[in-house]
């Protein structure tokens, strides 16, 4: 039986991406999504694929400082850009306060949505430090959590915002 050929190499451009501070160069098929590139090729499995059509938010990562859906962006679109994932943002300590608050409040159950939720929450903490409870709810509405009922998550984010306001 004759096999058809693999995708020719010209359809797999070379990209260079700074992932969690490390420069990574790879050839990737043009159709490969950023989330699959991170998970399958770099082994960064902390970001999850929940729906692969941009709704659930489990694949949320940061590209050049802005949160994006890893399932709606192609890996080639990340060429020359900086990508931060839950692994890097945990190691750098940037998410430390939120992670502590989430832990204290049990703002997670199965944990599948949690990395994406934390990135969305950090986006709010950094960009909207005066957010009200309903604004927190609104901001997190792009990230599904099926376990918690959201209340503990909102409580945890509220805790962090309140602590920050107190310390400044």
């Amino acid at each position: 039986m004759r096999r058809k050929k693999e995708i020719p190499l010209e359809h797999a451009p070379e990209i260079t991406v700074t992932v969690n501070g490390t420069i990574v160069t790879r050839r990737v098929p043009a159709r490969r999504h950023l989330i699959d590139f991170l998970r399958e090729e770099l082994g960064l499995t902390g970001s999850h694929t929940g729906c692969e059509h941009g709704v659930c938010g489990a694949c949320t990562v940061r590209v050049d400082g802005r949160i994006v859906r890893g399932c709606l962006m192609l890996a080639v679109q990340a060429d020359g850009r900086r990508v931060d994932t839950i692994e890097g943002l945990s190691d750098s300590g940037e998410l430390g306060e939120l992670q502590e608050a989430f832990h204290r409040r049990n703002a997670l159950q199965c944990g599948f949505c949690t990395p994406g939720m934390l990135l969305a929450a950090q986006d709010l903490v950094a960009g909207h430090p005066d957010a009200s409870r309903s604004e927190i709810r609104e901001h997190l509405s792009g990230n599904y959590c099926r376990c918690t009922g959201y209340q503990a998550i909102v409580d945890a984010v509220e805790d962090v915002l309140a602590a920050r306001r107190k310390s400044t």
Partner: protein, 785 residues
Amino acid sequence: MDTTNSGYVGKSVPRANARRLLQGRGTYVDDLRLPRLAHVVFFRSPHAHARLRKLDLAAARTMPGVIAVVDGAALAPYCKPWVGVLGHLKGIKSPPQHAIAIGRACWQGEAVAAVVAETREQAEDALEKIEAEWEELPVVVEMKDALSGRRVIHQELGDNICFKRELDTGAVDEAFAKADIVVEETYDFGRHTGVTLEPRSILADYNAAEHTLTVYHATQTPHMMQDIFSRHLDIPEGNVRVIAKDVGGSFGIKVHVYADEMAAAALSVMLRRPVKFVADRLESFISDIHAREHTATVRLACSKEGDILAFDLDDLTGIGPYSVYPRTSGIEGNQVVNLTGGPYKHQQYRAKMHVVFTNKNVTCQYRAVGHPIAVAITEAIVDLAAAKLGMDPAEFRRRNLVPDDAYPYTFPSGLKFEKLSHHQALDRLLELMDYKALRTEQAALRAKGVYRGIGLAAMIEVTNPSPAFYGVGGARISSQDGATLRFEPTGTITCLVSVTEQGQGTEGAFAQVAASALGVSIDRVRVVTGDTAVTPYGGGTWASRGAGIGGEAVLQAGKVLRERILEVASAILKTDKSELDIASDEIVSKVSGEPRLELSELGRVAYFRPDTLPMDFQSQLMVTRHYTPRSYGFTFTNGIQASLVEVDADTGAVTLLKHWCVEDCGTVINPMLVDEQIRGGIAQGIGAALYEECLYSPEGQLLNGNLADYLLPMAGEMPDIIVAHVTTPTQTSELGAKGAGEAGTAGAPAAVMNAINDALAPFGARVTAQPFTPERILRALGKVS
């Protein structure tokens, strides 16, 4: 936080295993990589009912990276078919189901071929090259159509009735004849599904040299699946190991046998290499079990004084073309019959229930199984009766709830309640929500054209089931669980439990129980679950049983291990055991509390210098205990919920303003975990009430099988949810814990339904079909036709 003896039960201790999940360092099945890993995807029927005239797999086989393309007949020798029936559901019937369907598909989404390739992309590319020629067959989509039997899906079964049940206490007609008022209403429930954020996932690794199968599985029941793989793939039980690492939500979705998962395991055997299957979200919608498609007509007889005399129920539920193995799809309807009217003291009850086959995706047990239906129809008709009598719904309930001093109590359906606390819960709820003030506010706002509604929903809930649930019916589903506690040389404790962790906090709760039983600090306890090669044998996670059953096993093992530790201490210290105790990680003098020996020192001597101990002494620092509930078939819990909503009469939009739940799950091991479990359950119940429905076309096509069109509750829509407890520990165990995981889901739809109808009352309008979409509300208001 108290870290001394018995300090942890009842405390909101953060759970240790959450830390890895917070850093994205958990391990879900899709995170695993094995050498020679192959990926399987499925070719699924685009039709609800069709015969395969021709299936051409040749082109797919030539695609890059493809390892195998197989149809049902090719895989059949590797996996025995199954039939989803149970002995105690008399008369239940279902046809055999294969890992890959052979020759005919009975719902849109049933797989008829599989492609295995080196990568998932390659497998998906090859999938597009499969050519199928279908002969469409007549479809049965509506439940009533199925019941009529005009078209029969499985000719060999004779009709479309999977299971039916009738129950009659004998004097229902007399009760209705002498009733002052009779109310009757029909309720419709749209089918919905669990939507675990982690899709169903399995990685099966067959080792041909050893004839062993290791399965990494997103499952609630590793031991049940071990037994299933063993029997259906013909591999000795001892050669099958099932490992459930982190599981991304379950809610009952991951407790069933799925054909595609069995196919992945069979393909691993066939191809002698590891094979992974992870459902994508679109196939989750057409292959994860659905649940709760019911139409129920209920009648209630009542005296003019407000005493409920009788309930009369007729329930019809549609389950797709197969009864799901091994739990069957008969249980949900059976539960509706068991539970309807459950909180109340009437003595007459009649029920009729049919479970019918349809050409839609299969349905089976999803969180709270049957309860959301039973509670909704009970509480809606109770409200209707109260309204007809002109009685306040809270007062009407108070009059009819089974009194708190009536226990043990046998409900007319035959259920036995050990001890419930309906009246305490009702009082607590009304106080918590300030019911009277809300009613006053509601009246004032109504005058201003703001339509708020208050809905109450009392409930009972099955928890801690004995073998009465499945075992008596012949299912190899264990209702017992086991715990092994091992004292380690450094004085830490390893706790191996057969209950699994799906995020509900099982491991954290067990650590609390173990630490409390032993007198050690909680950070010394490491809990391990989810591995059939490691933990004791047990049932796993389902039916709100983990804390109550697994927790009792941990407690009993801990108590024995504590004695064993003290025996070693006694030998080392040459002091009578009765004079010693464990507190704050040390052996102390029982009387003075004075520290005598570090646990790490005890461990050092016991494991490395036993030669220094008396000649006839052997330390035994590992203890296993099992527990199964014996005195009741089920340990019932009770609770009551309330919902406050505002309905926009112009748009039909419902805004959830607040939600309350008072629940009695006995001993609360960790209030923070229990409360958030209840809140999560309520959110799922709210989803059912307002948003979630798997919509099918008349041809049996799922119309909204994606996350953009199938609506889930989001943070912005959920209200704050106030949770409180009445605590009536069960006397059936020393721990006293009953289940809590399903209570929220059981009661929330009813509370929301009653709140909406309360808001609509000034218009004389009612809604009775879930989910209560703006369109349905506007129809009820006569604003759209």
